[in-house]
Symmetry: C2
């Protein structure tokens, strides 16, 4: 209802700033698939608290920007990676003691970016220690350093959500380049899920979902049979039966 800190009997003299406020940040778990592993983008903290520890990129929300905007801005500022191909709000973490400085409520997001091996413009996903962070790099999610704040919990939540959503939507588009082979698509699934899939069943399901369209182009990969290139018909996640 948003009514608490104002004088009930004098609506004209509203003062929203009469009470001490929590701070609001956004934090983002940005994922990509590279070198056969699912990786998340982390930055090394330079300052107290958790100086020297690795953390999810993030920062304070400005008064005049939407939450999504804040996330994209922080990603660029702190890590230099281009705008995420997919961004989804995850959960809001607001426990009282989660930040030793003061009360901080963090709206967590996860983001997906195409990997470098699918032959994409490299710059888009290469981190380069932004203006704020000491260092930024991709970490495989199966060999992470220990994380600052409650970021391990945020990351675990993000991973669970990503894996679930991969199963019943077409979000995988955000992890690939415009055109790709069915084997490349399957590899992305396998990397993220962490186990291997049956080729025939995978192709059957993907083609039945009506989310892909074939192109006349092929990818010829060295000494073997060329593969047809496909693309997603929509660049937004749609439900898959």
């Amino acid at each position: 209802m948003d009514t608490k800190p104002q004088s009930q009997d004098n609506p004209s003299q509203y003062n929203a700033d009469a009470f001490a406020k929590p701070s609001v940040t956004v934090d983002v778990a940005a994922f990509t698939a590279r070198e056969g592993k699912l990786c998340v983008l982390l930055v090394k903290r330079g300052v107290w608290p958790f100086a020297g520890a690795w953390a999810l990129p993030g920062g304070f929300v400005r008064l005049d920007e939407d939450l999504d905007t804040a996330v994209q801005r922080e990603l660029v500022e702190e890590t230099g990676v281009a705008a995420a191909h997919y961004l989804e709000q995850l959960y809001t973490f607001g426990a009282v003691g989660r930040d030793p400085r003061t009360r901080v409520i963090s709206v967590a997001y996860y983001a997906l970016l195409p990997g470098p091996e699918s032959g994409l413009p490299l710059a888009a996903s290469e981190p380069e220690a932004g203006t704020d962070a000491a260092e930024a790099r991709w970490w495989p999610v199966d060999s992470l350093p220990s994380l600052a704040f409650d970021h391990a919990e945020i990351l675990a939540t993000a991973l669970t959500r990503l894996r679930a959503k991969l199963g019943y939507t077409s979000v995988a588009y955000a992890l690939l380049t415009e055109e790709f082979t069915l084997t490349e698509l399957q590899t992305v699934y396998e990397i993220i899920l962490g186990y291997s899939l049956d080729k025939r069943n995978f192709r059957k399901k993907m083609l039945a979902a009506e989310i892909l369209e074939g192109t006349p182009r092929q990818k010829r990969d060295g000494a073997h049979r060329p593969a047809q290139l496909f693309r997603f018909t929509k660049k937004e996640p749609v439900f898959m039966g």
Copy 2:
């Protein structure tokens, strides 16, 4: 990362309050099933903005309380209903213009309470215009007044989530009293989903899910065959195959 507004080179002189901050509220869509309809708890606003309009209960988060705590407190303060049997964070709404007063970021929840007809202690779910709100009452979700702020959007999100979650978890426990008949359980499902279900399939699925246990007691309902009373084995939502 939570680093933006502090001096990078002087970690000891941290001042988290150096920047203007958004306000943080919680809002809650509290549902119950009564008189054959799915109802949501609304309060009538007494003050600007949207004075006279109906809104979801909610209010500012205090510095020293967790988000869930704030929700339960606001529910009691504004509507007088007892603590919700189930509470789940929904989404955080933070668009710049969503509140005409100032920048307000709202962490939205939905809550479930048992209805009165299942023979529960009435007081627990009878609203009685709390200290803050002019008036509080249950509204059937299929005949709502127009809502303040973006609360219609929040409510729509809550409804979608509730209906989905009812299908694959045992959250329905929060809408019933301790013991209930299978027909009462089915009625709750039908009220929330908005369509009727096949009795045999419903019972088969519920009993197969291993979330219920029979009691030796029966409910004798007037002039007809008595029905066995059941209870949920866990008072937390568990996944149902």
